[in-house]
């Protein structure tokens, strides 16, 4: 069986301007959404606070829970249904931490049992103090930063087979980060700075494949963050894990296409670059789609059957894999073409 015939020939490169517009619009929407929502919506891992998961043995209305909890002065910020509707599970969020966590879960149990006249089970309590939240936020950003750094160094060495240059890259990057640190800038600024330095370095060192791959990467992560922001989903530790995995995984498709481009460049060195790019994308199209498809299969089962705690993680991964597949065809390869135009002028 074969979905994608070997002789398939879609002119992807000709459609690159449409793709650029689509990508630009999506990134713009991400930025607008982040501005409207005042940055990413942090879950309690990063913002601090208390989260309590409760389960009733019979259908219960959110309004009843809210009025029940209203009698308690613990700064309840939201009550929300959680998981499958048949589980009668809810998430209660409170702003405070530490001081109120003492026996807050016990109180909640008592209050709710009297308010809803049913059995209540406290299934999960998570309390994160503001200091720990700040630490975790810093750690998460550092993890993203280092993942990007190492992957950048690896692909700049591997894609171009210029490990010397990659060493220079690494050295310059470390130096740039060190200088930035001296000014005690916040980590998001540090990351933005490091990425900027990376792209400028790629430009001057003429590492075009690495440039394409990293731009595609930033594209994927940005759009995933944007969709999270639009849907009002929270950033938690597992979501950071998902973003990091996307960074690693979305490169797979790009690597497949780029390897083929290099192979074809050797075979058909007389042909125009846009022809070779198109040929390579078409030849590897089956792989690109199949590898993403098998991963999507398990992610969708995880999304459906995995339960509430893992729901958002699966969502982030699904978005990341879809966007990653799109970007390896429509973002990474056309950048090579843009590069060639630069050299000609």
């Amino acid at each position: 069986m074969q979905f994608i015939k070997p002789d398939i020939n879609i002119n992807f490169i000709a459609k690159r301007y449409i793709a650029f517009v689509v990508s630009a619009v999506m990134i713009l929407i991400t930025i607008i959404s982040l501005i409207i929502h005042h940055g990413p919506k942090y879950g309690i891992d990063f913002a601090g606070g208390t989260l309590i998961q409760i389960k009733f043995d019979a259908p219960t209305r959110i309004a009843d829970i809210k009025t029940g909890l209203g009698n308690l002065d613990i700064g309840i910020s939201s009550v929300q249904e959680f998981g499958d509707a048949t589980d009668y599970e809810f998430l209660v969020r409170a702003k405070g931490s530490a001081s109120i966590s003492e026996d807050v879960s016990l109180k909640i149990e008592e209050v709710l049992e009297s308010a809803t006249s049913g059995q209540v089970e406290i299934r999960r309590v998570e309390m994160v103090g503001p200091q720990v939240g700040k630490d975790l936020r810093e750690k998460a950003l550092l993890a993203m930063f280092f993942a990007l750094l190492f992957i950048t160094i690896y692909i700049s060495g591997r894609f171009e087979l210029k490990w010397m240059l990659s060493g220079v890259m690494a050295g310059t990057l470390m130096f740039a980060v060190y200088i930035l640190q001296l000014f005690a800038v916040s980590i998001p600024v540090l990351m933005a700075g490091a990425l900027l330095v990376t792209l400028v370095l790629f430009w001057f060192l003429e590492l075009k494949y690495a440039m394409g791959a990293v731009v595609a990467l930033i594209h994927d992560v940005t759009i995933t963050i944007g969709l999270f922001s639009i849907f009002g989903k929270e950033f938690t530790l597992p979501i950071i894990a998902a973003l990091l995995t996307i960074i690693g995984y979305s490169l797979n498709d790009t690597i497949i296409v780029f390897d083929r481009i290099r192979e074809n460049l050797r075979k058909h060195h007389k042909k125009r670059l846009d022809f070779i790019l198109n040929k390579s994308i078409n030849e590897t199209l089956g792989r690109t789609i199949l590898t993403s498809a098998t991963t999507l299969m398990v992610l969708i089962t995880l999304f459906i059957f995995g339960g509430g705690i893992i729901h958002d993680f699966a969502f982030a991964m699904i978005v990341g894999v879809l966007v990653g597949t799109y970007s390896s065809i429509f973002v990474a390869s056309p950048i090579l073409l843009a590069w060639q135009k630069r050299q000609r002028t």
Binding site: A241, I255, R287, L302, I310
Partner: protein
């Protein structure tokens, strides 16, 4: 002529090792190796991060030094106008008179050598000096406080009876505690978090408590309260006591603390036993203060303030109060384990009930089975015979991940299960790449064997690259992640390595066996 190549040997060793490690988890007791560790989110339990208030430890040390300095100067007849602890960790003194000043410096140089002079100024024969502890000493006290707190908490938890607790330092002054399977979380938190500083202090009976409550507290005394609850109305009342600041005896001199039941009222109380030195001190206190009231203070709360009727020798005392048997038991544990050198605050708490953990396992396994079956069916439909080889590789992949988890004693968490599920989807990717390449080569007219050869050799580098990037992300996550997320990093890394092995070594071996030994003429792909 067949050569014994390394491939079959390597495959056999890896598979057998994995099975050896996995078996105890599937079939407990088959041989003595531990089962796969389940994280707190899967088996239920409590995760706590505490912060030791080390600044308080330094302040306490300074306070002790200030008291010592005060009594020493009094003994040397130095005229001291003021001697106070200021800004938390500094001692400020004012000394008057030439002779006094000389004697002050002499005392400071001989008996308080470790103190650092921050500032000194002299005018009209009045010397004002501010001293504190050098930073190095202060750091030492902080470190000691954290270590001691860790040791004390470990003792308490051991006596509380939790199976396989994990208690360790985290950073400079934090303590990470993991208590799997614990149910009464509130009680555990109370036991761990209480300072349990037991002090015996005399009541200040010469001054009026009423005046003190108006804000007129004598400098040598302080107001402490006794909480008592009316059993019928459930109302708490606070009774104030005017207590002398000086501590006569602390719980540090304890050798034992036990729960006893009062035979008369059937109330539980905690009987304590002092060591030899403590017993002597207690005897002297009671001897010198007959008919006075002695307050038993625990964590700055008065538990009782009985009148000393006569000299008590033998070195034992009792703490009464409104205890339930459980509370008395926990208090006894805390006293036996000793007081925390400084108060602790809960920074992070995550509790998962056992039923939620079981639910998570069920849902995780469910998604794993459904996802796995979908992928395997897809591979068979799409690649026919070769799909079966890929599926075989996939199944072994999962066995290897499980074996790796057991071998490294890593912890399986809910995100960890998600990592395994993700690996199922990603592991076949390598086979897809190889199979697509083989198809391509066969379309070019190559023989099956040549096509398989070319397919593997051309796809290998691409597969390595694609997996290295994922591995980099996973390793970074392992370095920075905590708890459940770390579990994800572990299974993802194991999964990437296992899928490299199964795709590049194992499935290749099967192809070679079929093509060379079985001399199969066509590849079902």
């Amino acid at each position: 002529m067949k050569k014994l190549s390394w491939r079959p040997v390597a495959v056999l060793i890896v598979i057998l090792t994995a099975i050896v490690y996995v078996l105890p988890s599937v079939w407990p007791g088959v041989w003595p190796h531990k089962k796969i560790n389940l994280g707190l989110d899967l088996q239920g339990g409590m995760h706590l991060v505490l912060e030791v208030d080390t600044n308080k430890a330094v302040e306490d040390a300074i306070e002790r030094i200030a008291q010592e300095l005060r009594s020493r100067l009094r003994k040397e007849r130095v005229r001291v106008l003021a001697l106070d602890r200021v800004h938390g960790t500094q001692i400020s003194t004012r000394v008057v008179g030439k002779a006094s000043i000389d004697q002050f410096y002499k005392t400071l140089d001989t008996d308080f050598k470790e103190m650092r002079i921050l500032s000194e100024s002299e005018s009209d024969e009045t010397l004002t000096v501010v001293i504190n502890l050098p930073d190095q000493e202060a750091e030492q006290i902080k470190k000691l406080a954290t270590d001691q707190a860790l040791e004390t908490i470990r003792n308490r938890i051991d006596q509380f009876g939790v199976s396989e607790p994990d208690i360790r330092n985290q950073g400079k002054n934090r303590i990470l505690i993991q208590l799997p399977g614990i149910k009464d979380t509130k009680r555990a938190k109370n036991l761990i978090g209480r300072t349990a500083l037991l002090e015996f202090k005399l009541l200040d009976e010469t001054n009026d408590i009423g005046a003190a409550l108006q804000g007129n507290v004598p400098p040598e005394s302080e107001i402490l309260y006794e909480d008592s609850q009316d059993p019928t109305t459930n109302r708490t009342t606070k009774t104030p006591y005017l207590v002398k600041k000086r501590t006569l005896l602390t719980g540090a001199q304890l050798v034992d603390a036990r729960v006893q039941i009062d035979s008369q009222y059937n109330d539980p109380y905690v009987s304590i036993e002092f060591d030899k030195k403590g017993g002597r001190i207690f005897e002297r206190i009671t001897e010198q203060n007959v008919k006075k009231r002695l307050a038993i203070v625990l964590d700055d709360k008065v538990y009782s303030a009985p009148v000393i009727q006569e000299k008590i020798s033998g070195g034992s005392a009792r703490i009464t109060g409104q205890f339930t048997t459980e509370q008395a038991r926990d208090l006894a544990i805390a006293l036996r384990a000793g007081a925390l050198p400084a108060p602790v605050n809960i920074l992070e708490e995550r509790t998962v009930g056992p039923s939620l953990g079981a639910d998570s396992i069920r849902k995780g396994l469910m998604s794993m089975c459904v996802g796995g079956i979908l992928v395997m069916l897809f591979m068979i439909i799409y690649y026919k015979g070769s799909g079966i080889i890929a599926d075989l590789a996939l199944m072994l992949n999962i066995v290897i991940i499980a074996g790796g988890l057991a071998a490294f004693q890593a912890t399986l968490t809910l995100p960890g299960i998600a990592g395994i599920i993700l690996t199922i989807g990603m592991a076949v990717d390598a086979n897809v790449l190889i199979f697509e390449r083989i198809r391509e080569e066969m379309n070019l007219g190559k023989t099956p064997r040549a096509a398989v050869d070319a397919g593997y050799s051309r796809a290998t580098l691409t597969i390595l690259d694609a997996n290295v990037t994922t591995l980099i992300a996973a390793l970074v996550l392992f370095q920075f992640g905590t708890g459940p997320v770390k579990g994800f990093a572990v299974t993802l890394s194991l999964g990437v390595l296992a899928s490299l092995f199964t795709a590049l070594v194992l499935s290749r071996l099967i192809f070679d066996y079929l093509l060379i030994n079985r001399k199969i003429k066509s590849v079902s792909i």
